[in-house]
């Protein structure tokens, strides 16, 4: 393999820049050299190091984060990262098209499959947390579709900016953001399903500042579009879909990907495709410990399946955070705890469908509460998703994954929140 070529160094959750130490081997010279500890690098940009080093074969430039790294003119046989396991080195990305097909910016109003927003100002680096989570969701969807009768063979990635800066600059910045998503997506796809990336046509575009959103943070985004399923076939094997938006105040103990995987284990065999459209980290310190007490003791409180009234001001305020969330889409709020304590609760103000999941939630709590949101009530059977509290709720589920029965599926299908494909 000859340079220059590209690779990625991806900081995983919890990693800090100062932990990184790199070693690389230059094949031609059979020489190992140590790039060094991060402290030796000249500067840190956005928390990631940028550095330069010399090899016996020439001069190299080192730029981590999701930046590109070019080595030359030497040939590299190996590149090893000597660092805690919290870091990983991506391989070169031979599967990814170096020049994806350029296309026009999608028309305003076209519904994206995923919205990756909150890029830092004037930056194209992906962030840990929500960005990786959404990209992994797209990767899973691509892989899963291959075994269906409607395999996804193309996708469009569109980069956007806020209004600061001139048109030309923002056009280029949007392209860089879209490229960063494309690269990460390709890398993850290659990791999870080697060979699949070659079968997918990647289209890339930049809209610059042409399609602004309500705030600068929401405008600084990349939108990913999967092709609309042909009608009237829909999206077999699914009959309907539910669009979720994650709003994270506190990361739960059971990981969100685990909760989503568990959700799909129950909903997808019943014919419901789960789409995670957006993910937002909400800095709402005051609501991390949420009061869900009913303000009016004379009125009924927490009526099953989901109350829309007698909610306190704090509870209502949380559900006011609906960036990106469409009218018939569901917001999922992750908080530390509630008073009184629940693992999850589906009570929501009228017209703002959503649910709350707390940090101690089980892998099934999200699925259970979503079941309430789409109309399901508790049942007195322990191997069902909607297991009643008197039996211990989802911590007491027997024979997982828990079931949905035909009558429940019919109720869910009738909900406004289950959308046609």
């Amino acid at each position: 393999m000859s340079g220059p070529f590209e690779f990625e160094i991806i900081p995983l959750s919890g990693a800090t820049a100062s932990e990184l130490e790199l070693e690389a081997a230059v094949g031609e010279f059979e020489t190992e050299f140590e790039i060094g500890e991060l402290g030796e690098f000249e500067e840190l940009e956005g928390g990631y190091p940028i550095g330069e080093f010399e090899t016996e074969s020439g001069f190299g430039e080192f730029h981590t984060g999701l930046g590109e790294t070019e080595f030359g003119p030497g040939e590299f046989e190996a590149f090893e990262l000597e660092a805690p396991v919290a870091w990983e080195v991506g391989k070169t990305l031979p599967e990814c098209p170096p020049k994806p097909q350029p296309v026009d910016c999608p028309r305003p109003g076209t519904q994206p499959t995923a919205i990756i927003d909150y890029f830092d100002f004037d930056r194209s680096d992906l962030k840990t947390g929500c960005h990786g989570l959404l990209i992994d969701e797209i990767v899973s969807r691509l892989i899963q579709s291959q075994s269906s009768s409607q395999p996804i063979r193309s996708l469009l990635i569109a980069g956007h900016t806020d209004r600061v800066g001139n048109d030309d600059y923002n056009f280029e910045l949007g392209r860089r953001r879209a490229t960063a998503v494309l690269k990460r997506l390709c890398a993850r796809l290659h990791e999870k399903k080697p060979g699949l990336a070659r079968q997918i046509k990647f289209q890339l575009t930049t809209c610059g500042e042409r399609q602004l959103r309500a705030t600068s943070q929401l405008s600084r985004r990349v939108e990913v579009f999967l092709p609309a399923p042909p009608r009237p076939k829909g999206c077999p094997p699914f009959k309907e879909r539910i669009r979720l938006h994650l709003k994270i105040l506190v990361w739960p103990t059971v990981s969100i990907p685990t909760m989503l995987k568990s959700l799909r284990q129950v909903y997808e065999p019943a014919g419901f495709l789960i789409e995670v459209v957006s993910c937002e980290v909400l800095k709402l310190t005051t609501l991390e410990e949420l009061s869900i007490g009913c303000p009016d003791p004379a009125q009924r409180c927490h009526i099953m399946p989901c109350a829309n009234s007698n909610l306190n001001a704090e509870h209502i305020a949380l559900f006011g955070n609906r960036n990106n969330v469409g009218a018939n889409e569901v917001a999922v709020y992750f908080v530390r705890q509630t008073d009184p304590g629940v693992l999850g609760i589906c009570d929501h103000p009228p017209g703002r469908p959503g649910l709350v999941v707390t940090a101690d939630a089980t892998q099934w709590t999200l699925a259970h509460e979503l079941g309430h949101v789409v109309g399901l009530s508790h049942v007195l059977i322990t191997d069902r998703l909607m297991i009643d509290s008197s039996l211990g709720g989802t911590p007491a589920i027997t024979n997982p994954p828990p079931d949905l029965v035909a009558a429940e599926i019919a109720t869910m299908t009738a909900s406004d929140l289950t959308l046609s494909c």
Partner: protein, 152 residues
């Protein structure tokens, strides 16, 4: 109605414990709640504290005194919130103690409980929070609480 501690634990560990139903079991379950506030599951322990507060009575305060020793801020937050529902000097002492807890969630609900049961003895600590709490929203909450307490 009698209920075993295992049954109580099961119900308090549910996604949405039925506090209304469990409250109807009355003070008879407070000894069990006293044990459950040290449960290995902080969720169960916190909910046991909440339920004790809903049941009320002198014995409930004893349960909360035990719960407040829990190292988990989740449990102490539940205690701080439960104290809004119980009366008496011992309860006031617990509120006063939790106003200076290191966890912001605990302080938030302690301030609210102090507001629900205004007591001049809280004034100096709440005044300090209104000036010095590192969380701006807690400084604001403490200021509101202070004006209410001073009216008492």
């Amino acid at each position: 109605m009698a209920i075993s501690i295992n049954q109580l634990r099961l119900r308090l560990g549910a996604d949405e414990p039925s506090y209304a139903t469990l409250t109807r079991l009355g003070p008879a379950i407070l000894p069990q709640l006293g044990l459950l506030v040290t449960d290995r599951s902080t969720y169960v322990a916190a909910n046991a504290a909440s339920l004790a507060g809903m049941i009320g009575s002198e014995q409930a305060v004893a349960v909360l005194e035990r719960a407040v020793q829990n190292p988990s801020p989740i449990v102490r937050t539940a205690v701080a919130a439960a104290l809004a529902r119980v009366q008496g000097p011992k309860a006031a002492g617990l509120v006063s103690r939790l106003l200076t807890d290191r966890d912001k969630g605990v302080r938030k609900f302690a301030i609210r409980s102090a507001t629900a049961k205004p007591n001049p003895a809280f004034a100096s600590r709440i005044a300090a929070l209104s000036q010095n709490d590192p969380q701006p929203h807690l400084r604001a909450l403490a200021s509101q609480a202070l004006s209410r307490i001073r009216r008492v």
